[in-house]
Chain length 218, copies 4
């Protein structure tokens, strides 16, 4: 099969990719579910409003981190959907991404217990995950040739978006907590990334005849 | 392949659905298993009867939450069994469902430590999950056209059942704790949903020639 | 396809079984890994021998519970390897098995903190899991007709073995802790189950032409 | 199919291997994610530098254990990529590997709270996992004949590498913490294992016509 042939390794590449996805999905799922495990109900509360009042900041941090992991899961899924094969370098880069994802429950706890400076640590981790995932994509698309043929411009745009979008979004959300007009910036940034992505994909479709991955067996 | 062809996306849809299912199953499994992690045996107990006496309310809450997650897992499985393809909106709706599922261990802890008002919070979360899953199904069946052709009446019935059945069941169980005749209501509601489901499926089978999903590769 | 055709349901049965397996494996894996999460190193220890001295009973309980979950995972895998299709009753019976598996970390904690009476609770849970899994197999093989054709004698032997072997083994291990000659009983029981299983399988092979499940796609 | 035919069991071997992989990946993923769950932010900290100062040793232990589990996951994946079939002995050997992996979060906690002697316990566990995984590979390649035809020399080299490489690496990292020139030893050892692996694989490719596993369906 051409798929196995261009993998160039001595083990089949479809099972390799499949296990990377299995393992990654389990790590994402555990990290996302552990976000809630350190949240405990308060000892005393008088009414439901009081309960939400006391737990509000924790639930808020839970929602933000859930969104962050969700966004990175979607990015991860989309990147892996474009891979044709895998190698040892991809294993290592993927482990770095997952290792940083695994720290999110910890910094989420930090976020709800301490404000201010904790938000910087949080943003730093979110940004670091973005760069690690971008490194994975950059390696896969350019250095490792693990994808099918890609449109250079679109792949570079994806690289930039994966690297900076989640950190930027997250920073703007924190900013908008104090300055409501930050929501406008957030909407603009979101719109720019979506519009840019669509434009780039159209470019890619016109430029090259993308040979659609027929991953019927995965 | 016709399956890939009608997906209309630039990535294969079978792997997309497969990863959604992998990820969701992991989250369901973790949430269901974490239900027990906060239950610890009491410091002192004199006999097995005493042990169960002290832990009874926690085991009861465990059983209820296990049933709730189990019911939602079954609903989730049935809905996803009818999907042919997936898109970004489905990703987000699914994340909302999972984000609410992830809070169940927390509200279960609330339930066993506080009675009364905690039951309302619990019911609120169960209902919210139902509405989120119904939104996912509604989007998939009507707006996003992610399913094969569906019988309108049957799809609407499914929508209503997914949205209200678990919350209603759960409320009736709580009600039956104080008023034993609530069990009759529970049995009636359960029977109505099952009978309604069978009737609707028969309607659907008569009305349209359902083209059976041949998901041999998933 | 004949596989889908004899499933007789309105949803494909291969994905249904696949999701049951995905979900079950995740629950087994989480329960088995959570066994260790409540074990913490002692505050003070002077040497490695002292460390093991202080943690020995916890590591012992960990090993026993790991073996119990491992044995049940193997039983579960073997049972599911013989299923051809799945239905809602199987979902529910499987949830009951998983719900009991999820309690093992809790009773393991009980076991290492309290001796004696806790061992009875532990044995009770192990036995209950055995009966739940036997009920699942019994339903699948006899009532629900979810398997291919089975040899009646062999299926009944499997039923009995699944129900009583793990509880009996576990009880004999506990017995052997106080009475070393219990190990002889343990070896005899183990031998009997293995020999019985082999005999029954030979009977089954002679009696019926087992049509080997060609589950290439699962 | 030749694959099923040479399995020689009464159940299909592809699903058996698939479930082993599903279950193992879930255990690896949970163990790797639980590494972080016992790390909590300090009560008081004045600046981000202070925060990292207080948490540095924990993050360091997290990174080391993440790398250890990552390396073993990669070894596990590579070994399983070469298996053609599975049996009950493989189940048990795999459970032993996973049971030791499940103890890593515990010894990681030990490592960050106590120095010195804890490092010996840690190294002991890492080495034990290596030997367990080597036993699995040795059984699969030589005794159980679960692989396709293997080159004897290459399989023995793999056996030795799986058994001693991670423990040796980990020991050298600990050594390099006190003696910087240990890094040279580490680089030499790493280079030797990689060079040896390449040499052996070339030998194997020249010696036997490896029939490439066409695991399209796994």
């Amino acid at each position: 099969m051409s798929k196995t042939a261009n993998a160039g390794g001595h083990e089949g590449s479809a099972p390799h990719l499949h296990r990377l996805v299995l393992f990654s999905d389990a790590v994402f799922a555990i990290a996302i579910t552990l976000l809630a495990i350190e949240i405990h109900p308060p000892e005393h509360w008088t009414s439901i409003a009081d309960l939400f009042g006391q737990m509000g900041h924790k639930l808020w941090a839970y929602a933000v981190s859930f969104a962050v992991i969700g966004v990175y899961w979607i990015s991860h899924r989309r990147i892996f959907a474009r891979l044709r094969t895998a190698n040892g370098v991809l294993d290592v880069l993927n482990l770095v991404v997952l290792g940083l994802i695994g720290l999110l429950p910890l910094v989420t706890e930090l976020l709800w217990e301490h404000g201010g400076a904790a938000a910087i640590v949080y943003l730093g981790l979110v940004t670091a995950i973005g760069f690690a995932l971008a490194a994975l994509w950059g390696y896969a698309a350019f250095a490792g040739e693990l994808t099918g043929p890609v449109h250079r411009g679109e792949a570079l745009f994806t690289l930039a978006r994966v690297a900076i979008a989640p950190g930027l979004m997250c920073g703007l959300i924190f900013f908008a907590l104090n300055h409501a007009w930050g929501l406008i910036l957030l909407a603009l940034a979101l719109g720019a990334f979506i519009a840019g992505g669509r434009y780039m994909r159209r470019q890619a479709e016109q430029a090259v005849e993308i040979d659609q991955p027929e991953e019927a067996s995965a």
